[in-house]
Structures are given as structure tokens and as C-alpha cells.
Symmetry: D2
Subunit: 361 residues, 4 copies
Amino acid sequence: MTQRPPLSKLDLVPLRSITLGGHEISRRKVIETAKTLRTNSGLFDDGMLRAARQALSAYERNIRPGSVAGCGRAIDKLATRANLSSETNARRIIHRFRRDLRLFARRNRLHRVVVIHVASTEPIKKLSAIHESWAGLSRALATRRTSPLPASSLYAVAAIEEGMPYVNFTPSLGVDVPAIRELAAASGVPIMGSDGKTGETLLKTVLAPMFRERHLKIESWVGHNVLGNGDGRILASPANKAAKLRNKDRVIAAMLGYRPQTRTSIEYVESQYDWKTAWDRICFRGFLGTRMSLQFTWQGSDSILAAPLVIDLARLADYHAERGRGGVMTHLACFFKSPMGGREHGFTAQVEMLHRYVAAN
Amino acid sequence: MTQRPPLSKLDLVPLRSITLGGHEISRRKVIETAKTLRTNSGLFDDGMLRAARQALSAYERNIRPGSVAGCGRAIDKLATRANLSSETNARRIIHRFRRDLRLFARRNRLHRVVVIHVASTEPIKKLSAIHESWAGLSRALATRRTSPLPASSLYAVAAIEEGMPYVNFTPSLGVDVPAIRELAAASGVPIMGSDGKTGETLLKTVLAPMFRERHLKIESWVGHNVLGNGDGRILASPANKAAKLRNKDRVIAAMLGYRPQTRTSIEYVESQYDWKTAWDRICFRGFLGTRMSLQFTWQGSDSILAAPLVIDLARLADYHAERGRGGVMTHLACFFKSPMGGREHGFTAQVEMLHRYVAAN
Amino acid sequence: MTQRPPLSKLDLVPLRSITLGGHEISRRKVIETAKTLRTNSGLFDDGMLRAARQALSAYERNIRPGSVAGCGRAIDKLATRANLSSETNARRIIHRFRRDLRLFARRNRLHRVVVIHVASTEPIKKLSAIHESWAGLSRALATRRTSPLPASSLYAVAAIEEGMPYVNFTPSLGVDVPAIRELAAASGVPIMGSDGKTGETLLKTVLAPMFRERHLKIESWVGHNVLGNGDGRILASPANKAAKLRNKDRVIAAMLGYRPQTRTSIEYVESQYDWKTAWDRICFRGFLGTRMSLQFTWQGSDSILAAPLVIDLARLADYHAERGRGGVMTHLACFFKSPMGGREHGFTAQVEMLHRYVAAN
Amino acid sequence: MTQRPPLSKLDLVPLRSITLGGHEISRRKVIETAKTLRTNSGLFDDGMLRAARQALSAYERNIRPGSVAGCGRAIDKLATRANLSSETNARRIIHRFRRDLRLFARRNRLHRVVVIHVASTEPIKKLSAIHESWAGLSRALATRRTSPLPASSLYAVAAIEEGMPYVNFTPSLGVDVPAIRELAAASGVPIMGSDGKTGETLLKTVLAPMFRERHLKIESWVGHNVLGNGDGRILASPANKAAKLRNKDRVIAAMLGYRPQTRTSIEYVESQYDWKTAWDRICFRGFLGTRMSLQFTWQGSDSILAAPLVIDLARLADYHAERGRGGVMTHLACFFKSPMGGREHGFTAQVEMLHRYVAAN
């Protein structure tokens, strides 16, 4: 989106000025992941892989061990990079992350670091009183034996404390904690989330407004997703799947203003690799109660759909911070299934919010 | 759409104050058509039919013979109501129509008549120099042995000369003639068209903007329509089909700003009756040139989708005229595949144009 | 199938000679069920309902209270007809069923009664040593406080002990118990099951052989079913759903000779009523490992697909018994998802088995 | 099919003993075609291409100029290999082909040559009295200025006169001429055709028997095909398309025994390259006239589906000739949309015919 008008008019960081780094729990090399995407999923071509080899090696050198705090057993099993599960105190983990981020910036002589969370979906984390204020949470982070926050939120705290913008591209908790939002507001750090709107839900948010405006009453909306990549393997675990489905499902009622019967399901089918097939069937009633239907099949590569949005978000978060602004970046709602700080889910309306931001800058 | 906010806030004519009348070329009774829709297409229920019987009889009494001028042989064959094809001079036909319209208004003590064209699709009519100005066209209407305009446009001239708003819900020529638009502007009569956006094209105009905004490059968009009602039978004739396909096809390029490979086809399958099934397959390229696809199947009743839009248009045209306004009603673009006087095809953007009209009234 | 050649050549009981009766757990009247199917699902027409009214009343008079033994809590809740759950001794229930069956035959002066099980799916029942021989099971039926068999099997025992053919049209246990098969063999009573092959699985059993013969290697077969009738409500309960999915899933590997990734799921969506929509996606590899796919959407009325098969089975079981034959009716495999006594799942091959039976009779 | 039981038990020519040659009208190199399939359609992988390079060069050396007689203007335009259209006398063309075939066999020290026609579809050729007997046709081939046969049939005559088996894998006329069949019978040369059953029609021939056996009455069967390869470009020409559609359409009525409404259409969409997408929608009536439907989308690579069938046919035709047999190879019906010499279209029944042939050999 940042490559075409009107966003291309903004003075965004050039693509070639971006340096990649990250936290990772698996020992698998980035170049191996890329090769596997090539072989199993048919993405890229051999020429692209060759051209990217050096850049991927440079990326690899900027990767540090992540955390599996509160990620559930399905994710625990993937943590081959280091003895991550023995590390339990939240403040220590945050401390480690902050040092990693500072070193990454210093060694690469970076003007700014933007942290974007793209890890596999964590189980739903229930919040309690200690999550209400930063004072309380801060104390719990320091003193509790086990972390009161899942990994996605520990990365958020580390980023914000370092003054770096944080964006949560997953359904995990991330920055969506009153105490952390308080910290971000107080620090003037831009934040946003959650859950990148890449495929099936994107379609939902253009179709549901159409039914609403035409006064066609939706009776049921059934969505069935089949995917086979690492995210899919994690989502085969019911605890992790619950967080994902919650976002996919509640979008529709939010846009319609009433609650049709919705059923969203996800199946992990390994031989699909990075390809996600979504089948949706929408039954609706028109004039005189007549029953009609729409069904669609969406066939997309999960990584390929997500990657350009992550790049867009990095550039737009950097741009926002560069202008000295902080807080929730509500103008980025069109990138998310559950946009923070706003109730608008319709994609076109969200795009207009972004266009208005551009016009005002 | 006029039953829900914000349109429901307008002071529109109440539904019960509307009286139906029309021009028709077939001898078939309205009540018979309704019964056939019930039996073959499964629309309504027996209770609705019984409740509507009296209203349909009243409607029947307000029906006068139409015209088949320039409608092609497929439509000629349906003209069982009177010896319509012997009538050739355009001005005489217009004269007859005007008298019908005046009598309809007088006998039913109507405050205003709105003319909405809903006849089967005419073959494409090529315009020439005489269609450029009302002076020239007016002369040709009076003097030429065969009509220089198809029926849809004769109805338009009759309506406008009577000061009645005219809306073209079909792909036929209607009011889309420079000379007739000149007449409407001069007379201060509201006009609009053309081709009601009921199903497949409605979907196109919410999906294409999504692909555009996400910078997903559409390579091909194939649409295949299957339908079995009277309109379908006429569209089985290649001359009539051409007009329909033109509108369905060009919408996409207009919204994208480039021209993907598009193929739209229509098949007449009698046993489908009033049900239209549209299958669309969209192939697009995402990040790094990756090929992905979306396909959808839309299953709707053509009449049931069109009817409420026709009612909405009648009420909104009446409202516009009531406020003394004339000319092209560009704020009604969201109802049409080929909206006059505007280049916006995206449905959501069109709906906003309508909402702005409401807000300003 | 019995109305067309070659089955129509058999000397089967005429349709008008068949009298309906049954066991039922709900207090709901048959005529009410029929009316609801008319109103909610759009089945039949008003004329058919009127024509059937008298026959349905006669049927209603032949209905006796059933049993919910081993049916699980989801089915227990539907048992409004009598205080069924207080009845626990299996032999007493069987005794009651046998008397019902005898009285039904006597009062209606019937030449033969065929029992066909069409109740909602029971949870999977694990078998143990007592189910291995009729001697052991017979003792357990008489002495145990709670029934060692679910209702579907109690009906089977009652039917066989009365010398009446028994057919299990559901995925429930029914006659698929070594001890009961022993009893049927010893008594010379025809039996068959299980699980009527009406829709999605029928398609699987014509498509899978095609892939097998063309040497196209199936990687994954995902099936997603959406339905809204009473059966669907019961299948929303995980225990009951398990039995159903087991049959739907294992059919494919049995036909292919290898085990592709299969995922079959069922969602209960009330507004679908009696209509079942199945979406299946089959990914396969052809020459040189090329990945290709087939997807289909099946839209059928569950009751309408099942009813004629139940009539066929009644006539064919009666025919078999009339000729003095007993045991497993393997020639009826084409009617079942899990045909007893045979490993052939391919539909065409099963139909040929039936045709050979016809030719030999 | 020849790689798996029971066909794998036959003593067929080993794959490595097969030498490729052919007639071609375009100057394009085989290796270029393979590369284009790799790049545009994503077939094979780079390793396969490298491994095949030498074999493709050897193949290229065995390619001789073909003919465009009776192929229509769409195919004429592709004839870049030589000045083919100036050559008009049929006997001379046949003479040239025969010499090519003999030289191909001699230079490669081949035991037998099998000719399989895989060229683009020719327009429908109407037969007349001269096509009834070989005496008459033979005279016309020698004396007429323009060929009384299209290229597909000239190849057939050349092959048969050389005693080489001929198989027509296309909808073109080929060997389906009484006079040529007479020649083949008299010469004891095996022949077969026509039109390889690769995708959509294959599905039709497993689904239609299912509907027939279950007594589900098909009202309409609509098939829409989208493809983008060279064959597709030729089929964009109405004359060539007609031959193709005839075969695709008439299969259904042949299997059902009645004639439902069928509509089969083909659209050329260049960006689909070698991938063919077929969407079919089948509307049928079940018990009590209830309307139900099945729709499927088939996504396959045309070349990849055809190639293994062509290899199978070469091996099976060689096997038949090796055993000294000639005439129409009716046991190969399962490979064809319009199998010669047999009225069985059901795929499973056709496969059994082939299995019976294997058992008898």
C-alpha cells in the first residue's frame, strides 16, 4: 500500500534503508525457511533466492533468542534455539530483550528500530487487576516467579521502554493491556495492533458492509480455513486456535449491528504448506424473506500476503515516530482484524481513515 | 436501502401511497407472472400471493400497450399484447405514451408519476449526428418512417416531456442520449441510469476496490452467469446480450485503473427460472509476483434483488423532484452498473455519495 | 433405485402395500414435523402436504415410545414422549419393543415387518468381552442394571428375536455386534448396515476410485459439512459427532489403498434447517509431481436424499426375507457408508454387486 | 495407468526404450516450450529441466514439418516452420509423411512406430460420399487440388499405410472416417480415438452414472472452462471450438438416457497459461421433485494430465500390434471423450473393459 498513491507521497523510509533483525525461538536458519517455502510452497523462484542469499545471511546474524513465556505447549516444542523455558522472571527477559534491541541499533547504526510481532499465536491470556495499571504490572514483572505476561507482551514492554514503536501483527495479547497502553501513552511511543488482516477476514470486511448497506439480512456465515504452515501447526492446538478464531468471528457482528449465526473453523493440513484456502458460505435473506447465498474460495499464500503489510507497517510506524507522535496509531486500522482504539471494521472506511491521515501530513 | 438509516430519515413518499402502472408488450397477466414465480422459482408463499391478489388486479388495470421499436427480433416475438410492430413513427408512439401517463395520473389522482424502465435488454443502438441535439432529434422523431430511438428512449422522451422523472434500470439506451439529456436539463426533470446493480456486478464493485487498495494486481477476472427467466431468454440472443455484457465487463477496468483480462458470459438455462447463479474467478498476483486466486458463486433471485431497488429509486426520484430539482441524479450511482454523470464505480464510495446527499437535505 | 431397471424387475412389495409405524422419543407429531419441513426448509408443496395428511395421521397412531439407552445427554434432552430414562434394564426394553412390533403387525394385518433404524447418532460404544457371544450378551441384557447396549442395538435384538429383518441406516452401533450377528445368523434373519450413503460420502465413493484408477495421488481431502436439522443439533455434541465423522473419514483410505491427510468436520447452523451443504477440497499430484485440485459444493436436503433409500431398503430386505434368506445382506452395500461384511466402498462396484444379485434372482 | 496393477503386469515396452519424434508446424523449439511451461505455468522444476535437456534435443532432431490442411485460419497463423500452406495435394503430403515415418524408424533402429495425434483442434469437417469407401477416397486424395481430408486424417492414412498403429488424442477428425477405418481393418492396423479424457469430462463420466443409478434427475449441467495455453488460443476461434464442445457436451445425455439442458463453454484467458479451470454446476431433482445442486471446480494442468495418458496409449497400442492384432482398440475407451466403436461412456465401466482385456492377455 505504501508503494501506490496516496501513501507513496509520504516521505517514508526507503526500502533499501531498512535492516532486518529479530528474536526467534527455533534454531532453524532463515535461509532454510526460505528454501523450504521455495520447494514446498512454490514461492519465489531460484533467481530470487540467489539474489536474497546475502541479505538473509545478514538478517540471520541479527537474530537473538526469543521467549516462550505463556506460549503454551505447542509452541514450547518449537523452542530449539536455546534453553528458553528455564528463564522465568519477566523483568529479566525484558532486560535481555532491551539489550538485544539496543545492540541491534548500535551495531547497524540505525536511526530507529520498529518492533513488529509476527510470532505464532499464543493461547488466550486472561487479564486481572495487576494488568490495570503500569505501577502494579511493573511490580509483578519484577517480583513474580512466573511471568504475568506472555512473550508477545514482554516484547512490547521492552520496545516501549526503549522508545521504539511496537506493532502486534498477531492475535496474541501484545500491547493490548491497559497497563502497557498506559506506559506507551506516558512514553509517547506509537503502538498498534492486532492481528494482520490478510485474507479471509479482509474479504469479510468488504462483503459485510455491502450486505448491510443493501439491507440484505445475513442468517449465517460459515468460514472454513485450511492451512499447512508453522502457524497452522500451532493453531491445531485448541488453546492457541481459540485466540485466532475469536478475532475472525466477531468482526462480522461488529459490522452488521446484529449477530448472525457464525462458525469459523481452521484445519491444519500439512501438505498445504504456506497456502491457505478459505471457504466461506454466507446465507442471507432479501426482499420478502427470500433466501439467497454467496460462497467464496480464497486461495492465498499466508506469508506472501502478510509480508508487504509488515513492511508497510514498519514504514508507517517509523514515519509516525519521526514526526514525534505517540499513542495508538488508529489510522492504521485497515491492516488489522481487531484494530485497537476504533470500532470501524469496514475495509473501505478504514482505508479512508488512512487517506485522511496522509492528507493531513 | 430507504428503510434503514440514514435514508429512512428522509421525508420520502410512504410505501402505501404508491400506485403501480406500466407499459407492457405481452398479453400475460401480472397475476399469472406472480403465480409462475411462485411455482417455478419458489418465491413468495401462498399467503403472500393471496394477500397481493387485489393489488395485482389493480395494477393490471393500469397497464397499457408498450412498444418494441428497436428491440430486436427476440423481443418482437414476445409482443402479444397488440399489433405493436406496425406502429413505426416515433412521435406518434411518444404521443400515445404521454397520453397514457397523463391518464394514469388523472384517474388515480396522483401527485407525481415516476417512470422506471425495467424492460428486457435491447440490442446496442449506435448514435449518430441526429442524436447530438434535441432540435435535430426532435425533427427526426417527427419525420422519419422508422424510429431513430429504441423503445427505452421513447419512454424517456415521453416522461420528460410530461415533466416526470425517468430512471433507466436496464442496459438499454434509455436517457443516455445527448439530445435527451439536453431536453431533461432544459425541462428541469430528474433523470438517472443505467442498469441496476443487483448481484454479480455489485460484488465486483466491492471486491475490485479491495484488490486496488491492497495493491494486488488482477491478471484475469472471469464471470459466468446462468439464468432462466424472461430476461435470460432475451439475453440468449447475441444482439441483446452484447449490451448487457458491455456494462458487466467494463466496470472492472474503470475501478482498477488498468485493464486485466476479463471475460463475462451469460448462459440461458430455462430450468433455473428466476434464479441467477454467477461464478466468478479472479486471478491476481501479490508480493514477489505470487499468483493467488479468489472465486465466488452468487446465487440470487433476479426479481427479488431488483424489486426493492426499483422501489427505492421511485421514492428517491420523487423526493428529488418534489424539491424542485432536475438533471442527472448522480447521488444515486450506487444503484447502477453504469451510473450516468460520474466515474465512481466502487460501491462503498457510491454509498457515501448518497449519504452526503441525505446529510445535505 | 427400486423404481428403475434392473431393480424394478424384481417382484418387490408394491409401495401402496407398505404400512408405516415406529418408535419415537419425542412427543412431536409427525404432521408437525412435516409442516416444519415445509415452512423452514421449503420441501414439498402445500398440495402434497394436504394429500399426505391422512397417511401421516395413520402413521402417528402406529408410533410407540422408543428408548434413549446409551444415547448420550444431547439425545436425552429430546425425550419428551415418556419417562424413558427411568427404564434401565435392557431385557425389559427389548421385551416392550417386541410386544410393540407384534401388535403393530397384528393390528395392521401385515405379512412382514422390516425394522429400519433412522434415529439420531449415538456416541461411540466400546465393545467388551460380553459382546462377543450371544450367550454372554444375553445374560448381561437380563441381569445388568444399566443396558450393555445402546438403543439402536436393543431395537436390533428385538427385531431379530421376532424374526424381522433389521437395517441400520445410522452410524450408531445397531447390529454391528458379534453377539447380535451370531443371533441373526442362527435365526436366519436378514440384517444390514450401517450409515446411509446419501450425499458427501456418496460423492467420495465415486471420486476416489477415479483418482485411484488414473494414478493421481491424493495428498489431502478436506470435507466441511454444514447442516441445521435435528440430526445436526445432536451432532453438535462432540460425543455423537465422533461416530459420524469416523465413517465419513475412513472411507477414502479404504478405497485408495494409502492414507492421505483427511479432515472431515461438521457444523450445526440452525438456519440451514434440513439443507446440508458439504464443501470438499481434494489436493492431488499428477505427472511429475504436479499439484492440482478439485473442490465441490454439494447442496442437498438430508431427509429428501435419505427417504427413498429407506424405502428401497425396506422393499429389498422384505424381498430377501420372503425368499427365506438370512444373514448379512452384502448386496446392499451401495446404500451404506460402512457396509457390513464387505470391503468394497466404490459406488459403481457396489451397484454392480446389487445388479448381480438381481440377475441371480 | 500402465504403472499400476493390473496394467503393470502386461509385458509392455519399457519407458526407456521409447524414442520420441513428431511432425510440427511451428518453428518453436521443444526446449523453449518446456522452459515456457516452467516459467509461465510453474510446471516441473529446474532440476527436471536440466535432466531432460539432452532428451529434448534428441527429440528435436526427430521433428519434421507437419501440415495445416483443413486446420482453419487460427492454426494457419502458427505455421512458421515451413511454407506449409502452399502444399495442397493430399497424396503428396501423405507421401512425405510416410517417408518421414520410415526414416524416423530406420535412423533410430526402432522396432515399431506408434503415431499419436496431439495437435490443436481442427474445425469440424463434414463428410460426403467420397469418404465412404477407401477406393473413392484414395482416388480423391490423389486427384483433388485441395485435400479432401484435414491434417489429422492425412497423418492417419500415412501411419496406416506404413502399418503403424494410429491414435487420435484430439477432437479432430483423424481416423473417424469410414474409408480410413476400412483401410485400417483391411491392413490389420490398430487404431483408436478420439479426444483424450483428461479433466472436466473425466469427472462428468464418473458423476453422471452416480446420478443415473441413484435416480436423481438432472435438469441442467453447465460447464465453463477457462484455459490459456496454445490449445486455448486455437479454441478461441469459433470454428475450432465447435469440434471440442460437441464432444464435451454429448457425453452426458449418452450416459443418462435422457437429455438435460447442457451448456458447455470455453474461454481463452492467456494468463492462465497451461492451467485449466473448469467450473461445473449440476442442478437435479430428487425425491418429491426437490431441487438440489452440485458444483465443482477442477484446477489442472492440461499438459500434465494429458502426457501420461499419451504414454499409456503408446505402450498399449504397441502391445496390441505386437500381438498381431488390428482394428479399433475398443478396450482403450477409458482414455477418450468419444471412444470409437463403443457406446459406454461411464469411466468405471470403461476401466473394467480394460481390466478384462488385461485378464484375457
